[in-house]
């Protein structure tokens, strides 16, 4: 693990549906980035009243060739911090820390994989698909969102793998329904051995359930609220079962954001399960 802090000039800002796709010059981050890594971006400028960074999954990192030394990430406006970001334009400078987190594990050899993205959660799955294709894995991609405007990356995905299924909750694009409605058929089509997912927590949990029904693994990247992104603040924790069978609150910024879906105790998120290591020490004050 080694992250850097870079002052990054914005190369371009591009509207994609409801999102803004940023391309910024970040040569050191681009060089070290792997699929699933994320960056933490300072917001509000020098005298900001928003002291915490905003985290974004890396969409693309281009260490060499055309656009050498650039990274891309996708921003959805949620509040004051992301609103400030969506007002930045080409030539402005962003303070970015990265690459952060534990990337998606990639099988050593060819391994058929289905990738499931919800909303702009598709972004980190594009470089993942490239890496999987490079090691000879058959890849299918499922892209879903509430509405057509909230989809991301379906055209890039189609160009990359051909086999892309689109779902929307309202039927405004692709098939009406949820990504998990079409996931079982995709798994069967390519005899998938692994499912990757990124998107809202309820979707990740459901993707994990489908994978388990098919007796295959699911690696999912979570989006937890973070204060620091580098592992010092302990705010972004999830209850996760470890190799020793015991569950702990672990940091989604360092041990994640990619987790084995079966290890995350989805039903216990937001609670303090009594069997968690150290939960017994919480009483008695």
């Amino acid at each position: 693990m080694s992250a850097v802090q870079e002052s990054c000039e914005i190369f371009s800002v591009q509207q994609v549906g409801d999102y803004l796709q940023f391309t910024v010059v970040a040569p050191q981050i681009a060089k070290a980035a792997e699929p699933g890594h994320f960056v933490a971006v300072g917001v509000g400028g020098e005298n900001t009243a928003m002291p915490l960074r905003r985290a974004f999954a890396l969409y693309n990192a281009t260490p060499g060739g055309e656009f050498a030394g650039t990274i891309q990430f996708v921003v959805a406006e949620h509040g004051a911090g992301t609103r400030w970001l969506t007002q930045r334009r080409t030539g402005d400078v962003l303070d970015i820390v990265g690459p952060l987190g534990t990337p998606f594990p990639i099988p050593a050899g060819p391994s058929p994989a289905v990738l499931v993205g919800g909303g702009y959660g598709t972004a980190p799955l594009i470089p993942l698909a490239q890496a999987l294709l490079a090691n000879g894995s058959p890849v299918e991609i499922i892209v879903g969102a509430a509405t057509a405007d909230r989809l991301f990356g379906e055209i890039v995905a189609k160009r990359l793998v051909g086999a892309v299924t689109v779902t929307t909750d309202d039927g405004s694009a692709g098939q009406r329904g949820l990504v998990t409605d079409v996931l079982p058929a995709a798994i069967k089509r390519i005899n998938a051995e692994i499912v990757y997912g990124c998107g809202p927590m309820a979707m990740l949990r459901a993707v994990g359930d489908v994978a388990r029904e098919h007796a295959i693994r699911a690696q999912v990247a979570v989006e937890e609220a973070m204060a620091c992104g580098i592992g010092v603040c302990m705010t972004c924790v999830l209850p996760v079962r470890g190799d020793d069978g015991q569950s702990r609150f672990v940091r989604s910024c360092v041990e994640g954001p990619a987790f084995d879906a079966d290890r995350v105790r989805w039903a216990d998120v937001g609670t303090l399960p009594p069997d968690l290591v150290g939960a017994d020490s919480m009483g008695g004050h």
Binding site: P51, L52, F249, T271
Partner: protein, 315 residues
């Protein structure tokens, strides 16, 4: 160039900028951004006797120029801390201030004993003021007698060569009364201040934003409160050193604490936004002292308390 060396009781430090407890874990993650041995010291996240899960999420809410946290002292327990974190800090040449927290006096005493004689421990900071404990508002540091009991017991149990500092809460009617009680119990100095107890309500869910309902407020929003506390305690007990913290983001912020009476400062929440903040604050503080004509940091400590006509430098 101003002489930046300073002292916290018997502990000599090459410079006055430290990390703040709970904002830098045990230094390892920040070592990606700068050499932790270059700091005055690393102040570790409060450790307790046993492993502790901490509170359910959400644990954090950003507030104007600050943040609320309700981590609840998640930690590995003292055995793992000594075997892993303290060993790593020692291997990397970092001076280390170990923050300890307990549910009762006996736990603080046990922790002080475990750290006694450990060569990697430069100082003990006794966290008697964390708001994220079960009986919120009933923290030791809100009661002079309870504070005095814990500090006295820790001072007796701890290694005599390790200074014992009390970390106090600003959530009291008169912080100097608590400070005096700690002084009478033999404390070697003060860490000022811990977070203020606060609360945010999520207007979408119309429920408290934090899983722990209330949380500790930190960041630049609390800086004036912290400077006031340093000022008051320095006035009341000028012979005891102060480690100042609360919303320090720049060298000039740090200078305010020094002028109010702090011998050193901790940079806390600023690290979340800028992981290299401690080394930047140190460089900026040194420059600020130079610009004001101070030959040494020591000359600036408490300088804002001077009377008329007591000018040391021509500012």
């Amino acid at each position: 160039m101003a002489d930046m060396t300073t002292r916290l009781a018997t502990l000599e430090l090459p410079n006055p900028v430290l990390t703040a407890s709970g904002c830098s874990a045990a230094g390892r993650e920040l070592h990606q951004f700068f050499d932790v041995a270059t700091l005055g010291a690393v102040v570790t996240k409060s450790i307790m006797a046993k492993p502790r899960s901490g509170r359910p999420t959400p644990r954090m809410a950003e507030t104007p120029s600050g943040m609320l946290n309700s981590i609840g002292l998640q930690g590995p327990g003292i055995d793992s801390f000594i075997a892993n974190d303290l060993a790593w800090l020692a291997d990397h040449g970092a001076r280390t201030v170990v923050s300890i927290a307990g549910s009762h006096t006996d736990e603080y005493v046990e922790l002080a004993r475990r750290l006694s004689g450990h060569p990697a421990v430069s100082m003990i900071e006794v966290n008697i003021s964390c708001p994220n404990v079960e009986s919120r508002g009933q923290v030791f540091a809100c009661d002079a007698i309870a504070s005095s009991r814990v500090i006295g017991a820790v001072r007796r149990a701890a290694d005599p060569s390790q200074p014992v500092f009390a970390k106090l809460s600003p959530d009291v009617t008169d912080i100097t009364l608590i400070a005096r009680a700690c002084a009478d119990a033999g404390v070697d100095g003060f860490s000022l201040i811990n977070t203020l107890l606060g609360m945010v309500i999520d207007t979408d869910t119309m429920r408290p934003a934090l899983g722990g309902v209330t949380g500790g407020l930190s960041g630049p929003a609390i800086r004036p409160v912290a400077v006031r506390c340093v000022w008051q305690v320095r006035n009341a007990l000028p012979h005891l050193p102060i480690l100042g913290m609360g919303g320090i983001r720049t060298g000039l912020d740090a200078l305010q604490f020094v002028l109010a009476g702090a011998s050193a400062v901790s940079v806390g929440t600023a690290v979340f936004g800028d992981p290299s903040a401690p080394v930047r604050v140190l460089a900026e503080l040194e420059q600020a002292l130079d610009e004001r004509g101070f030959a040494s940091l020591t000359d600036a400590i408490g300088y804002a308390h001077r009377g008329a006509g007591q000018e040391l430098v021509n500012a």
